[in-house]
Symmetry: C2
Amino acid sequence: MALPEKTPWRPGYSLTIHKIYQYALYMWSDLEIVSRTTKGLERYTFSDAARRIESLANALRALGVSGLDRVATMDWNTHWHYETYFAAPMMGAVLHPLNVRLAPNEIAYIMNHAEDKVLIVHSDFLKLAEAILPHAPSVEHVVIVDAESHPDRIAGRRLHNYEDLIKEHGGRFEWPELDENRPAAMGYTSGTTGLPKGVYHSHRMIVVHALSGALALATRGRRRVTGDDTLLHIVPMFHVLAWGLPYMATLTGMKQVFPGRLDPKVLLDLIVGEKVTVTAGVPTILYMLLSHPESGKYDLSGLLFVNGGQALPKGLADAARKRGIEVIVGYGMTETAPILTLANVPQKYMDRSEELSLTTGWPVPLVELMVADPETLEPVPKDGKTMGEIVVRTPWVTPEYYKDPEKTEKAWRGGWFHTGDIAVWTPEGYIQIVDRDKDIIKSGGEWISSLRLESLISQHPGVAQVAVIGARHPKWGERPVAIIVPKPGWQDKLTTEEVREWLAKNFVEKGEIPKWWLPDKIVLVDDLPKTSVGKINKRSLREKFANILEQEPQQ
Amino acid sequence: MALPEKTPWRPGYSLTIHKIYQYALYMWSDLEIVSRTTKGLERYTFSDAARRIESLANALRALGVSGLDRVATMDWNTHWHYETYFAAPMMGAVLHPLNVRLAPNEIAYIMNHAEDKVLIVHSDFLKLAEAILPHAPSVEHVVIVDAESHPDRIAGRRLHNYEDLIKEHGGRFEWPELDENRPAAMGYTSGTTGLPKGVYHSHRMIVVHALSGALALATRGRRRVTGDDTLLHIVPMFHVLAWGLPYMATLTGMKQVFPGRLDPKVLLDLIVGEKVTVTAGVPTILYMLLSHPESGKYDLSGLLFVNGGQALPKGLADAARKRGIEVIVGYGMTETAPILTLANVPQKYMDRSEELSLTTGWPVPLVELMVADPETLEPVPKDGKTMGEIVVRTPWVTPEYYKDPEKTEKAWRGGWFHTGDIAVWTPEGYIQIVDRDKDIIKSGGEWISSLRLESLISQHPGVAQVAVIGARHPKWGERPVAIIVPKPGWQDKLTTEEVREWLAKNFVEKGEIPKWWLPDKIVLVDDLPKTSVGKINKRSLREKFANILEQEPQQ
C-alpha cells in the first residue's frame, strides 16, 4: 500500500458546471434575476431559474438530445439564454451560442461545421433562422423564446414553444455525473480574415476560469466586484460565453440583469432603475451609453465598466470618468474562454490607477503569460518598449481548433498558445498590446503601432472615433493613415495638417512617439464599419483605403 | 473528427502548486515576507524566497529525494517551513509536516507509517528529533534550520545545515510538469481517540482549495480579505497546511508574517509592529492574546481573527469585539484540507452579522454539503433544530485514510464523506455544529449539545473557560457536567446552584434551552487539558470525571 501516483477519484471531485449551479442553489436560491422581454421586466430568483433549468433539460432529453449533441442558440441576453447556459452542458450536451450578427451564410457554415442538433431561437431572429435552416440539415428541432404565437413548423422542422416545453416537462432532472474534461460549450472566432474557426471549452475550463476571474475581480483594483454587486449583461451571450460573467456572477451571488436586445436607452434605464453597479462590453457600447442624446439625464456615477474586445481609447475613458464611471480594461479572446488579463490595478500601483487601468493589465490567477519572440519563445525584456507576441499557458485555453489540426499545431507551437497579439511588458508586470500582428504597420522595416496612434488621435478635441491602418506606400512599404469620424462642428477643421501638427506638438515634441509615426493622411468618414461583435472592422477599412497613398503620394 | 468525450491535454492545464508559485513570482515578486528567528526579524521578498525554494529543491535532490519520497518537517511557523511548503511538492516529493506537540512515540508511529525519508528540523526540536530518530529508520537525512552551530550527525544520520545546503545548491531547478492528481502533502489527524490516521492531498486539491478559500474570504462578510491585507501565520504550519493560508496568501499577494515559536507577547508585538490585519487560530490563542497581562497596551482594533478548530465561545468573541477585533468562525478538518465553511456573512444577512459570524457558517465555493441522517443520507429539515451529521463532497476531501481501507470505506459510505460532526442547518443556509458525534450527551434517549452549553456558560461573568462533558448517570445514562476555570475572585462564588440558576434565568426562562439541559454539577479547575493542537481535550476530561455523578448522585 504505497502512496499512489494519482489520488483515487471520489464523488464531488469533478469541476463541472453543476458545481456552480448547486453552490448557487444552496447559497443564493433567492438571488434576483431580471430579464427584459416583450412583456416588460420579468423577475425571478435563482431557485425559479433552477426549476426551469431542470425542465429545460427534461425537454431537451425528450427532443432526443443525448451524448455530445450541440444545442445552438440565436438569442439576445435573456433569462432563456441564461437557462440554456446551464441546462445544455449540465445534461452532458454542448452549448453553442451562435453569433447572430454574422452573415447568414457564415452562420450556416458554422452550424454545419458544429453539426448543431437543436436550435433555440429568439422571436427576433425567426426570419434569420428561416433563411438559414434550409442550409443546416443537422438541426432536428427548433425552439422559440419570447413569442406568444408562432407557426408550428419552420423550414420543415417542428417549431416548439420554450414556455410550453417547460410546462410539459416539469419535474426533477437527474443530472449525470460528468467527466470534468467533457466539452461543455463551443464558439467560433469572429473571423475578420478567413473562415470562422471553431473552439470548445470543457466544464473544468469554464469552472476554473470562473474561479480565477471572480477572484481577480474581487481582490484587485480600486473597485472590487463581489456578490454585493449588480451586474448588467451587456457583453452578448453569443460572444465567448459572455466573457464567463454569467458563471462568475452565479458563483459569487450577484444580482443579474438581462437587457434583451441591446438598445442604449434601455441599457441606461436599466442601469439606473436596477441600481446596476458593474457591466462589461466593447468600447462602442460605452460610447453609445455616453453619447445617447438623453445620456446626461442618467446618473451613471459609481458604475464599473469592464472594457474588452478592443483597446479603450483614452478620450473615451476620460469622458466616462467625467460621468463618474470607473473603467478598467480586460483582455482575452475566444480561444481563451476568454479572460487572460485585467487592468484592475494591484495595491502597490494604486496611486497610478487612473493611468494603469487603461493598459492591457495583469494576468488573472493561474495564467502563465509571456511576451516573447514568437519563433524562439525567448521572453523579450520587461522594458515597456520591446515588442513581442503574447503567448500563454492557462487551464482554460482551448486545446484545439475544431476539425483543423493544422491551425491547432500552428497556434500551439512550442507548447505555448500563440495569441497573435503584439505587446510590450513592463517592470510593473502589466502588458500593453500594441497591435494585432496583422494590424501592425511596417514602415521601412520598423513597426508602428496602429493602436497607439488611435489612442493618441482619439484625444484630439475634434475626434469622435478613429481607426489607423497601414496603407501601401511606394517608398516605405506601408505608412499610417487615420480614418476619423469627426465630432459635430469639426467637419471642416480636421485636416491632415491639423492632426499632424496637434500630434507633433502634444506627443512628438514630448518624446512619446517618433516623428515618423505621424500619419501621412487623414480621411474623414461618417461612420466606421464594425465587425459582428462591434469591433472596428479594420480589414474592411484596409480594403477600402489600401491604395489611398499610391493614388496621391504625400511624402 | 467528432468532438472528443475528453478534451486533449495541453501544457499549462495542470492545477499544480507550481501554478500558484509562478503566478506569485510574476505578480508579486516583491511581496514582503517577515520571519522571526533567533536573529530577530528577517525580511525578504517572494522572489528571494523563490530563489531559495529552487536551491532547496536542488539540495533535496542531491540528498536523494525522488519519486514520492516524504519530506517531513518539525518546525514552527517560519520562512523555512514556508519554503519547504513549495519546494517539496513542486519537485514531486510529498510534504509531511509533523505535529511537534504530539508525544514522541506518537510522532515515531506517524513517521514510520508515512515512511519519511528526510526530516527538516528546527533547532528547538533537535532534542525531540534525537529521541525519535532511533525509532524512525526510514529517515536518511536530517536538515536543521535556525542553528549557528550543531553536531555533524544525529542518531546515526548526517545532520545538514539548511543555510549551507542553500548556498551549496544555488542555481535554477527545472520544475517537472507534474500530474495535478499527484499527492503533494500528508497529514495526520490529531487523534483524540485511537491511533493517528493519515490523509493526503493532491496538488489539485490544494490549488482548488486555495482558489475557493481566497474567493470566500474576498467576497463575503463585513471584512473582506484580499492582497491588501497582512497575514500573521498563527495557525501552526504543522496543522493541516496552516489551513491553506500560506497558499491563499501567496496567490492573492498578502504580506505574510511568520512568528516562529508561538508566544503571546511576540504575537502582540508583531500584530502592531507589522500592521497585521488578519490572522487565524484556535480560540485558545485568541484567549491568550486578550488575557496577556500587557494585552491592553496593544491596539488590536481592525484585526480580523478567523477562528477554527473549535467553536468560538460567545464570551470570548464579545471580549475580542470590545477590543475592536472582528471575529468570524471557520470550520473544517484535517481530512478536508481543511476549509469547508466560513461564517463571513453574505450580504443579505449583514444586519445580523454580529450574531451569524459566530455560527459554523456557510460553505465556501464548490463545497457540496448536507446535514443528513448519517445512515439514510436523507437531509434533515433546514429548521435550525433537527440534528444530523455533516456530510460533504468537495474537490479537496482526502480520498482515503492512508493504508486503512476499512476506515476509508466507513468515512466515504454512500458516496459522501462523513465528518462525524453533528449539526443543524437553517433556512438562511448556515450550519451550526452542536457537537462531535462522540461528545454529544445522550440523556434519557434525548441529545444534549455539550458545545451549546459551553457557549452559554462561557457568558457567565465568572467563567474564564468551560468544558461540558457527559458523565455517567444511573438513571439517565448520561448527564451534563461543566468543568470550569473561574475568573480571578470567583473561586468561591461559582457553585453548581449559582450556575444553574443563572442559566435558568437567562436561557431556560427565555426558551432558549429546555430545563433538563441544565448541568447536574459544576467542577472548578485551575486549567483545562489541551490536545496537541490546542483544543480542549474532552477525552481526558471524560476519563477523569466520568464517574463523578455516580459517586455523588445529584437528582
